[in-house]
Symmetry: C2
Subunit: 204 residues, 2 copies
């Protein structure tokens, strides 16, 4: 997630930014997310608490930025088929959402989003927008190849793959293995193919 009040997601002081995020990651590894405090991060990073709260609204947002958003997502695989591309994306989300830090942080962030509309806006405009753009790319390639009858909403594709996975892992707390990830990708492929046909019927 972009830091609070940054124009276009560009950091104003990237050294401080980096230090805060590195220190947060270190402390999550050492003490775990539930025990992490903003005070600890400020003290070890050698910055004031105000510097942290200028960037992040809360401990959850700071930790989310450090451990999830801070990871560079791999570029979207171009496998040559919609099913292959969605399976690759589903596997990336599976790894990301199952990571030990995310298993505490994801739910904490969900809880904060419920009471913090500003955080929802930042979360949607930066983090979710980037994820949805990956699905838009996959859909565009499938339309170009003629696999889809026309474009479908990348938001729906994201909900069917990343949303369903995040619900399975963080809400329903199901054991999710690669067979389930593969089934989800296969179901999403068939589902998006059907929606494209339905939405673009008679336009050929």
């Amino acid at each position: 997630m972009a830091a609070k009040g940054q124009a276009g997601g560009r950091p104003r002081d990237s050294r401080v930014d980096r230090k805060i995020l590195e220190t947060t990651r270190e402390l999550i590894d050492e003490v775990g997310y539930p025990n992490l405090t903003v005070d600890q991060v400020a003290a070890r990073a050698g910055v004031g608490k105000a510097a942290i709260y200028r960037r992040y609204g809360s401990k959850a947002e700071m930790a989310f930025a450090a451990s999830v958003h801070g990871q560079q997502l791999p570029p979207v695989a171009d496998t040559g088929s919609l099913h292959g591309d969605l399976l690759a994306l589903a596997r990336t989300f599976h790894v990301r959402l199952s990571a030990p830090a995310t298993r505490h942080l994801g739910p904490a962030l969900v809880n904060e989003l419920a009471t913090n509309p500003d955080l929802v806006t930042r979360f949607q405009n930066t983090f979710l927008a980037a994820e949805q753009a990956d699905f838009a790319e996959v859909i565009e390639r499938a339309v170009d190849r003629g696999e889809l009858a026309g474009p479908v909403d990348p938001v729906m594709a994201h909900v069917l793959v990343a949303g369903a996975l995040s619900a399975a892992i963080h809400v329903l707390r199901l054991p999710v293995d690669d067979a389930m990830v593969a089934d989800l990708a296969a179901a999403a492929t068939a589902g998006l193919t059907a929606l494209a046909m339905q939405h673009h019927a008679g336009q050929e």
Copy 2:
């Protein structure tokens, strides 16, 4: 969710049970979930706090039992098609997950599940099991009608419909309208049909 320590989900003192749940619902309406306290419920219901904590592990579990689990779900509609049945289920979940109380409570419960394995067990064995049974019924009817090539996992069906909706509403905080619910039901229908074909290929 069944009360803590109750055998088979049967209340030991249904008058006290009912009073706690009614009072919780009243207070959620009056003060909202974030301001609700177990103390308030105990005082107004005329029961000890211990009586509440024997039944529920926390405020979130008590409120969830009162406002979500306490609602009798309508019987699963038998519309004559897999798509119709899944659309009816998706609309029921949409109403339930979008209710004002659930918008706060759902995320609070998600956060508690992350740190409370006992709550996860109760949540899965009672609440989720009942929801998954509804999907099992819908799948069985579709197999009987010959719409599905064979049974598919009701857990996957539940993830594709209820999971995706709960992620869209509570995690991604998207505006979800009936058009999106209908698209989700159509995508889930095509997805489950494809999974049934894949899993039962060559068994005809």
